[in-house]
C-alpha cells in the first residue's frame, strides 16, 4: 500500500512538478504521502497555471495588468491597470517576478486542498 501511494505521489509530481517552486517540492511530497484517498479525486481535477504561459502573457499584456488578473491577484491587477503598468516600471519588475509568483499561487492552491 505504501509503495502504491509512493509511486502515485511520484507520478503526480513528475507531471505537475513544473508548476511549483523546486524548494517546495519536498514539503509537497511529504504532504501528498500522508494524503487521504478521498482527497485524491479533488487533487486530480485541480488546474494549475503554467509559469511559462504567464511570462508570455506578462510580455504581451503586462502594462494592462492581465498577468496579475490571471494568477488571481485582482487588487494588484487593477492597480497595475490604472497606473499603466506602474508607468512601465512595474511591468519590467513583473517580467522577472511573474513566474515565481505563479508557482507560489499554484502551491497555495494545492495546500488549500491538502
Amino acid at each position: 500500500m505504501e509503495i502504491v501511494n509512493s509511486s502515485r505521489v511520484d507520478n503526480y509530481l513528475m507531471v505537475n512538478g513544473k508548476f511549483f517552486e523546486s524548494h517546495q517540492i519536498p514539503a509537497i511530497r511529504n504532504q501528498l504521502l500522508k494524503l487521504d484517498d478521498s482527497k485524491w479525486s479533488t487533487l486530480q481535477i485541480l488546474q494549475f497555471k503554467d509559469p511559462t504561459l504567464m511570462l508570455i502573457i506578462s510580455l504581451v499584456g503586462g502594462s494592462l495588468g492581465i498577468d496579475r488578473f490571471m494568477i488571481g491577484d485582482t487588487g494588484l491587477g487593477i492597480a497595475k491597470l490604472i497606473t499603466c503598468g506602474g508607468l512601465g516600471i512595474w511591468t519590467i519588475v513583473d517580467l522577472f517576478l511573474i513566474m515565481g509568483a505563479t508557482r507560489e499561487r499554484n502551491a497555495e492552491k494545492l495546500f488549500q486542498v491538502l
Binding site: 516600471i89 512595474w90 519590467i92 519588475v93 517576478l97 515565481g100 509568483a101
Partner: protein, 151 residues
C-alpha cells in the same frame, strides 16, 4: 551539499546549495536592476524603484533570495546618489547656463562613468555566478546585506 561563497578576494563555503528556482530569483534581482537601469536612462531613480519593488516582492522568500535582493538594492542606492548629482549638474549647465563645463565637472563625470562601469561589470558577474548557485559577496555591500538580512 555545500555551496561556494565567492568574495572579491577569496572563496568561502556557504551552508546549503540553493535550489534551481532560488538561484534564478536571486540572479533575476541583478538582471532586473540592469534592465531597469537601461530602460530608465537617463533618469537615475528608475532602477532603484524597480529594485526596491523586487526586494519587497521577495521579502517572504528564502534567505538566499532575500540576501541577494538586499545586495542589489544597496548597490543601486549608492548609484542613485552619485548619478543624481551628475544628472542635475548636467541639466543645470544646459538649461540655466549659470554653470559652464569646467575641469570639476569633467572630472566628476569621469568618476561617475567609472563608478557605473564597475557597478555594471560587477552586476553582470554576480548575475552569472548567482544563477549557478554561487554566493557572490561584494566588498562593503555584502556586509550591509549581512546586517539587514537575517536567516
Amino acid at each position: 551539499m555545500e555551496c561556494h561563497e565567492r568574495t572579491m578576494t577569496n572563496t568561502l563555503t556557504f551552508q546549503s546549495k540553493p535550489s534551481e528556482h532560488e538561484a534564478e530569483k536571486a540572479s533575476n534581482s541583478y538582471v532586473m536592476s540592469l534592465v531597469a537601469l537601461m530602460a530608465g536612462l537617463p533618469l537615475p531613480i528608475i532602477n532603484l524603484i524597480a529594485t526596491l519593488a523586487f526586494y519587497i516582492a521577495n521579502k517572504k522568500g528564502t534567505y538566499f533570495v532575500r540576501w541577494h535582493c538586499t545586495q542589489a538594492l544597496f548597490s543601486q542606492l549608492s548609484l542613485l546618489f552619485i548619478n543624481s548629482f551628475g544628472f542635475w549638474w548636467t541639466i543645470s549647465i544646459f538649461i540655466t547656463q549659470k554653470d559652464t563645463i569646467n575641469n570639476n565637472y569633467i572630472s566628476y563625470i569621469l568618476v561617475v562613468i567609472l563608478f557605473n562601469l564597475i557597478e555594471f561589470i560587477a552586476t553582470i558577474y554576480s548575475a552569472i555566478q548567482t544563477r549557478k548557485g554561487i554566493h557572490v559577496r561584494w566588498w562593503f555591500y555584502g556586509d550591509i546585506a549581512d546586517l539587514i538580512c537575517k536567516p
